[in-house]
Amino acid sequence: MPAAPANLADGSRAREWLVVKTVAPWIIAAVAAVVLVEASNAFLLLMIGTIVIYSISAIGLTWLMGRAGLVSIGNAAIMGVGAYITAIASAKPVISDFPIPILLSAVGGMVAGLIVGLPGLRIRGIYLAISTLALQYFVTFAGSEYEQLSGQPSGLVVTPLSIAGHTFLYGRGLVLILLAFLGLTVLLVRSVLRQGPGRMFGAIKESEIAAAAIGVNTTRWKLAAFVGSSAVIAVAGSLFAYYTEVVDSATFSLDFAITFIVIIIIGGMGSIPGAIVGAVIVVGLPHLLTMVTSSLPQAGIGQWLQSNVFYINEGLFGFLLLLVIIYQPDGLAAATQAWPGLRHLPPRLKRHRPTAGSRREPTVAPVTKCAAPAITAMPRPDQPESGDHRVQLAQIEGLAVTYRGGARAVDGLNMTIDRGAIVALLGRNGAGKTSTLRAISGFLPAERVRLEGSIRVAGHQLLGMTPVTASKWAMLVPETDKIFPSLTVEEHLRIRPGRPDADVQEQPFFAPLRNRWHQRAGLLSGGERQLLALAMAWQQRPRLLLVDEFSLGLAPVAIQRVAEVIRALRDDYGMSCLVVEQNVAAALQVADWVYLMEAGRITAEGPPDTVAAEALVGQSLLLQPEGGEP
């Protein structure tokens, strides 16, 4: 039995090592900071003090934005609240004793945070950010009014910090106190974020709806994030007041607020050490630039730099911001991707799920206008244009689709599509059907999804193409977002030069669109939208039309109509088509060849009538939790 105690010892040693590993850097940093402060000259000391205060404020902001996912540009305003309260309290006899002004500032910050947080319960994302911008104006306005009223128009004078009879003026002692506050902030915020509350914030940031669904009181936790982080930020403002000894409304500008966003962007959103590193860079860089330029020769660019270094330093954080966002945006992206509404150019900005008609399977699938003669033939259907031997249009070999998280949606898929054929790809939800379509049409590479294998359409390798280039050969009609809601039908068909919309008007199968010619597409019914999307796709004359779930949300009559159009596009123009469906009956109305897909692979193929039975059985398995293969 010697193994178990050894393991136990190993485990506790590992735990000890983990504790040392996480705690040691902080202790080393703290010691280093104290040593640095002791060794600094006055100039360096000034910088360190500023860095420490900015770090505290940035830690508050990174809690709010990075961890709870709530956007705010009200940082300067909250700091202003803390600074004003400290300035006022420090001048009053009873409440000027340490730490009362700082505590009052924290409480004031919490109240301000609550006020900002209340709209945050209703609005989110960038709207929330802009409402915090309003707070910025209110605080600076109230501050400057108070300065005027109290007869100190150039700023309120702060009575220096005094602890147990010892007054801390500008200098080493004050900076050490600031460092102590930074240490406290780090300990406090870390412990909050590492325990229960941190998980709540994380859940809300990931998905507010999901968090609410598992019983998280999102309202309470969002407000808590605002209140808690604002207390930290207001304390930073209070320390800032003691440090600068004057509180002026001009300090707490929008640029000041942006500075803190720059700090946490540079350091990586949500990271406490990152906030400190960001503060070091943002505060230190202008000083560094000044030092470097002053050592340059007094001529040419050196002279130019020297005379303009003040202005350059003023705008330096703007340059930093652009550089970081353009070249190193990942720190930010990780923090913001949780807000579904915040994606710029999102793939699904709007959902237009047709509401007309619910999803029902037609009991029979009568293919009334069946023009393809070869559906019943056991070998592949003959092509209208190529006579008796079939010509392959598309060959997909060994296609694998791996998403960023490592999930494999498609795993070695092989499939061929004959010229002039309508092929249906059937399978249950999550089988990888849509991923296959999106891989062919070039959407997945654009989303940084890993693709392997080969997709050849009409002799061209489509793997890795962008949707724009791929659309010459294979054009996708997506499941949602297939039309432009604010454009009229006519405008849809006139977007591109050289594609006469008259074409579409003459086509009998697009007849329903003619009555809607000057209406906004957002007002069309689900079936009409599908027709419009098909008309647009047809205008591009792709070799292969890819249609994702055309039956979704459509009434059986509408499904039949859309199916007729797909057939007509093939019969009249030889346009091959790959249809992805969950609705087997709908797919069977159009297809001459059927593939069944399961867990990223093709499990069966054949003409519709033979595969249909299997498919229908497969579909019924949807109801069972663990469906085995029949």
């Binding site: 705008g315 945006p329 915040l342 454009l487």
Partner: protein, 293 residues
């Protein structure tokens, strides 16, 4: 109508034209790229400075200087997209918005280095004396210039969006960027045009302000920020909204200045913003889609 009311209305028309012009550029940029641009103030300042230099230092005629300024601003706007924002397509909206803050700071820094931080007065090329009188309404040629510029600008842009293929493409990109690119629309082209228009409109508004008041490097960008509440009031994606929002906010601000005092006028603007955000985030004319951001 009393003299005071007439003054408030004329003030509203002036300030409203300015907000409307800035707002149109904002809306067009927002609609075709989904960028909420906080650099409009810097574009205004750039326009005013370029115009001032051409007018005062190069002794150009004012209309030539104006035309050249607008062309320059359009070029600058296009460059801004080509250099920076083109690289941010597909980024989170918040990142892009923060980047426009950065752009604002950078442009203002460049202006300060190139032209200095001082306030300059431009020669009075348009008189402040009334040329049009109706009852108590006194409209000077500078008023007519401001209003005319806003009306003409908005008319041209509305025609561009409604009647040209480029305009249709821009609206299509605004609706569904990915579908639009699949349909063969060059998104970089429409975005470049949108940035050019946004900068051009803001530059025009900057010229408008510097002719009326002064070439003030701190007041002009501040005014650009005040256009934001106007835009939210009207609805971020609506051109008539930009118009209505601009004039309504200008009315509220002028009335506040008159009855309470000028200090409160900016506070009122942001008070309006907060109320709009809470009560009706899509603004007066905006589509509900916007409110879901």
């Amino acid at each position: 109508m009393s003299k005071e009311l007439a003054e408030i209305i004329v003030g509203m028309l002036d300030l409203g034209s300015l907000y409307a012009l800035v707002g149109i550029g904002f809306v067009i940029l927002y609609r075709s790229t989904r960028v909420i641009n906080f650099a409009q103030g810097a574009f205004m300042l750039l326009g005013a400075e370029i115009f001032g230099s051409l007018l005062v230092n190069a002794h150009w005629r004012w209309y030539l200087a104006l035309a050249c300024t607008l062309v320059a601003l359009a070029a600058i706007g296009a460059c801004v997209y080509g250099l920076f924002f083109r690289r941010l397509v597909g980024q989170e909206l918040f990142v892009v918005v923060i980047a426009t803050f950065g752009l604002n700071v950078v442009l203002e820094t460049i202006v300060t280095i190139a032209w200095g931080p001082g306030i300059r007065n431009l020669p009075q090329i348009l008189s402040q004396t009334p040329v049009l009188k109706a009852g108590n309404f006194d409209l000077a040629s500078i008023d007519l210039f401001s209003i005319g510029m806003a009306v003409v600008g908005i008319g041209i842009l509305e025609l561009l969006l409604r009647k040209t293929r480029l305009g249709t493409q821009m609206r299509a990109v605004a609706d569904e960027p990915i579908l639009a690119s699949q349909m063969g629309i060059n998104i970089h082209r429409t975005s470049t045009v949108a940035w050019a228009i946004a900068a051009l409109c803001a530059g025009g508004a900057g010229v408008m302000y510097s002719l009326r008041v002064a070439l003030d490097p701190s007041a002009i960008p501040a005014l650009g920020l005040l256009a934001i509440p106007a835009i939210f009031l009207g609805g971020m994606d609506s051109i008539p909204g930009a118009l209505a929002g601009g004039f309504l906010l200008a009315l509220a601000q002028n009335a506040t200045t008159y009855f309470v005092g000028g200090l409160w006028s900016d506070v009122v603007a942001y008070g309006v913003l907060v109320v709009v955000l809470i009560v009706r985030p899509s603004g007066l004319f905006g589509s509900a889609e916007v409110a879901r951001l």
